[in-house]
Each structure stands twice: as structure tokens, then as C-alpha cells.
């Protein structure tokens, strides 16, 4: 479901296989375990995380088919993703999402939860699909969207027209930092950017705390729900 590799100072977290990488409870648990592992690595204060995926999808969102069969899982997946995003926001190192495939709804939120978003421009889009599939967008998703998208018109386009945002449009909107000709080029660029950032020698703990302060409102919105009470730095949580 996901693998974690270390290349020098870079952690490479990959959503594996050619499927849609739906954020079901198992994958979310695996991702959180990987983050816990990263956090407990002794060299983590001088490291960086790159998240990417195999195949056509970065992630196509929650496992809605699973939730259809057991509606209680909807809350479980929401809780687990809140915890994962809170973990990423408090992570004591810079983070890069190398988006090499479609990122929809919760998958789009996962991509946006990284400090830098690099994306391929030859294929794939970012898509807040909820309006098209008749789901509402939770307040905490909106908080993440606001963190990445500054223009009210762009937020409206993303949420109220369910625009399929290409890398080019993503650049215009400020969601995407830079775009590349292929999946391989995107990952290569992420590694290069990662190495450059790590070379600056920033203290990861200071960086992580600064990010938390900057995104205080987002953390507050993520946490404002009883199901998210275990979100912060609680690596042993069963959620």
C-alpha cells in the first residue's frame, strides 16, 4: 500500500501499485505509521519528506464504496485523515508532494497538506469532486484549501465548479509550485528541490513549529470535532 525509503537525507513515501490509492482505514494507518517512523528517525531534524505515488493516481480520495457498505467507516476515515494531516503539519521537516497522477477530494487535500506541490503537466488533474458526486465538503477541507489557495475566485472555481485543475491552472491558482513534463521528471525535480532545501541546513524542529504557528487556524479547524481529539503528535493512537 505504501513504502518508505531513505535516500540520503530524503524520505521517500510512496503510495504503491496501479490502483486509485483510495484513502481507506488501512492505507491511512500505514501512512501514519510511516510518518511515525520518520519522526522517530534520529536524523529527522535535518531531513525532508517527499510523498509520491505509482500509476495514474496520486489518490482518488476516500474509499466511498467501503463507506457505502459500512457508513461508520466514513467517520473513521475522516478521523484518520485529520490525524495524518495534523501529523504532516507538525512534521519537523519540510514536505514535498510530487503529484504524478490524479488527486481528488481527500487525495487533493493530502497533496495540499505538503509545503511544496510539484506536479506533472502532461497528464492528471487536481479535482475537488464533491459537488459532482453530491457530497458536501467538510469545514476542515475548506481550511486546507484556504491555506493553499489565496484567491476567493480560485477557491470558488475549485469548490463550486468542481474544476479539474491541470498543473497549468494549479500554477495560476498558487496550488502548484512548479510543473514538469512527466512523472519521472516530477520526482527527479522533487529530489533535487529536496536536496537543495536540506543543504540550507534548517533545523527541522524549528521549521515544524513555525509551520504549526503559520497554520494554527487550520489545525484548530482540524481539531474542532471530538473524533479528532487524538490528532496531535499522538503516534500511538489507534485512530
Amino acid at each position: 500500500m505504501c513504502t518508505l525509503e531513505k535516500r540520503g537525507q530524503l524520505f521517500l513515501l510512496k503510495l504503491t501499485g496501479n490502483g486509485e490509492h483510495r484513502l481507506n482505514p488501512t492505507l491511512l494507518d500505514n501512512l501514519r505509521s510511516a510518518i511515525t517512523q520518520i519522526r522517530s528517525d534520529p536524523s529527522s531534524s535535518r531531513s525532508l519528506l517527499i510523498t509520491t505515488s505509482d500509476g495514474k493516481f496520486f489518490s482518488n480520495g476516500y474509499d466511498l464504496a467501503l463507506a457505502e457498505s459500512d457508513p461508520s467507516l466514513r467517520v473513521v476515515m475522516d478521523s484518520k485523515l485529520r490525524s495524518l494531516v495534523a501529523d504532516l503539519i507538525s512534521l519537523p521537516m519540510p514536505t514535498i508532494a510530487a503529484v504524478t497522477g490524479h488527486a481528488s477530494a481527500a487525495g487533493f487535500v493530502l497533496a495540499m497538506s505538503h509545503d511544496y506541490v510539484l506536479m506533472r503537466r502532461d497528464r492528471g488533474f487536481l479535482y475537488m469532486s464533491e459537488l459532482d458526486i453530491e457530497l458536501v465538503i467538510p469545514a476542515w477541507f475548506v481550511a486546507v484549501i484556504r491555506m493553499k489557495i489565496g484567491s476567493p475566485a480560485a477557491r470558488r472555481d475549485v469548490m463550486l465548479t468542481a474544476e479539474k485543475v491541470t498543473a497549468e491552472r494549479g500554477l495560476e491558482m498558487g496550488i502548484v509550485d512548479s510543473s514538469y513534463g512527466s512523472a519521472a521528471e516530477t520526482i527527479e525535480a522533487a529530489i533535487k528541490l529536496g536536496e537543495e532545501i536540506v543543504r540550507r541546513g534548517v533545523d527541522g524542529y524549528v521549521y515544524g513549529r513555525m509551520r504549526e504557528t503559520l497554520l494554527k487556524q487550520v489545525l484548530h479547524t482540524i481539531g474542532s470535532n471530538e473524533s479528532a481529539s487524538n490528532r496531535m503528535r499522538n503516534s500511538g493512537s489507534k485512530l
Binding site: 464504496a65 458526486i133 458536501v136 489565496g150 469548490m159
Partner: protein, 239 residues
């Protein structure tokens, strides 16, 4: 003073008569009632376009009516009454279960500009009409929901300053400032035609209006809080 027409999927709300379309209690009640009608007849693919006749979209509250009360306290009370009774109009537009477009036939000032900003999309004429928050020039303070609307819909501090603090009559630069979506249209017919074109594209999506309204409200949490609007939760996605 105000009519609601139905043309296929489109609801056309028109501020009639070649006058300033000032919002006094009667006009406000009429607009509210017509929005209620549109809401009750809403179905998938419905879209609202609001426009006006003559030189003005609306020049704001009926200050002459306020002054006609004969005393300073009387005038203040009447103004307060209009400010309070206009809130439900803004709320009704935010709550409307269909996309909304303002086709500005002419000047939109103060509460008139608020009416425009309460729509999802705003198109202006190139040849005529300004946006003008007159409060700073006429010495009126800003109701809380007006300021919240500006914060919600206008993204940059420079643009907010231009709108609220400069007393400027804003024309085509409204596009660059991120206040309107387009200011490229000649004549009242031209701007309405352009909005009809957009409306048809939006109507073709056949979105669920209740979900649309819910997502719209989640885009503007601060404003909704001030207006007492709550988002409703749905749990049955189209898979």
C-alpha cells in the same frame, strides 16, 4: 420595483424602473420574497441571474427615506432597520440552491455593491458602471456583515483597501483586483447575454442545488456565522 422571470432553467431577477433601485423596507421585502420563490421552484440545473434597468444596479440603502423621519435618532433607527432587514437578503442568496450571477447593468454602490458581491459570479459592463463603497465618503460606518463579505470575496489587502478605505469608484480594474469575474461587456444587453452564456454552462452540470448551497456556505464560514447560516450535512454520494 423588482420582478422574477423564468426562462427555461434560468431565473432572472430584475430591479426594474430607470431609477437608483434604492433599498428601502418595501424593496427589501420584495427582493426577499422573490428569492424565496426562486428557492421553492429550484431544481437541478437552475441558475439565478440578477440585473437591473437603467443607469444603476443599485445605489444602496434609501438614505432619503431614513432622513424623512424628521429627526437624527429617527434617521439612525430607519438606517439600522434597513441594515438589519437586508441581512436576510444576503443570507438568502448565500443559501440559494443554485449558482447565482450578477449582471451589472450600471453602478453598484454600498448595499448595492453588497448585493452584487452576494452572488457567485459578477460580470460588469466595460462602457458604464462603477463599484463604489461610499461609506467612507458619506461618513457611515460599515455593518459587520458588509466587512465580512468584503473579507470573504476580496482576497488581497490592497484590493480590500481600495474597496473600503479609498472611496474610489472602481471600473474595469475590478477584474485585476479580483472583485468581478469579467468587465468586458458593452451595453446592458451585452452583459446579460454573457451571464446567460455562463448560466447555460453551469446549468448543464445539473448539480444538486442543496449540495451546491451547502458547499457555497462552507466556502464562507465567517460570513455565514455572522448571518446565522448553518451548513447541512448529507451522507449519500453518487458513486
Amino acid at each position: 420595483m423588482c420582478t422574477l422571470e423564468k426562462r427555461g432553467n434560468l431565473f432572472l431577477l430584475t430591479l426594474t424602473g430607470d431609477n437608483e433601485h434604492r433599498f428601502n423596507p418595501d424593496a427589501i421585502a420584495t427582493i426577499l420574497s422573490l428569492l424565496g420563490q426562486a428557492k421553492s421552484q429550484a431544481k437541478r440545473g437552475s441558475v439565478l441571474i440578477t440585473t437591473g434597468h437603467g443607469k444603476f444596479f443599485s445605489n444602496g440603502f434609501d438614505l432619503a427615506w431614513a432622513q424623512a423621519s424628521g429627526s437624527l435618532t429617527g434617521a439612525a433607527e430607519r438606517l439600522h432597520q434597513m441594515v438589519e432587514s437586508f441581512k436576510p437578503v444576503v443570507a438568502a442568496l448565500l443559501d440559494l440552491p443554485m449558482p447565482t450571477i450578477a449582471a451589472l447593468n450600471g453602478h453598484a454602490a454600498a448595499a448595492g455593491m453588497m448585493l452584487a458581491l452576494s452572488h457567485d459570479y459578477i460580470f460588469m459592463r466595460k462602457d458604464r458602471g462603477v463599484l463604489y463603497m461610499s461609506e467612507v465618503d458619506i461618513g457611515l460606518s460599515m455593518p459587520d456583515y458588509f466587512a465580512a463579505m468584503v473579507r470573504s470575496k476580496i482576497g488581497t489587502s490592497a484590493a480590500r483597501r481600495e474597496v473600503l478605505l479609498s472611496g474610489k469608484k472602481i471600473r474595469g480594474e475590478a477584474v485585476a483586483l479580483g472583485i468581478v469575474d469579467s468587465a468586458a461587456h458593452d451595453s446592458a444587453e451585452g452583459v446579460v447575454e454573457a451571464t446567460v452564456s455562463l448560466a447555460e454552462k453551469l446549468a448543464a452540470k445539473k448539480w444538486n442545488g442543496d449540495v451546491y448551497a451547502s458547499i457555497r456556505k462552507s466556502l464562507y464560514p465567517e460570513l455565514c456565522e455572522i448571518l446565522g447560516l448553518k451548513a447541512t450535512i448529507f451522507a449519500t454520494p453518487k458513486l
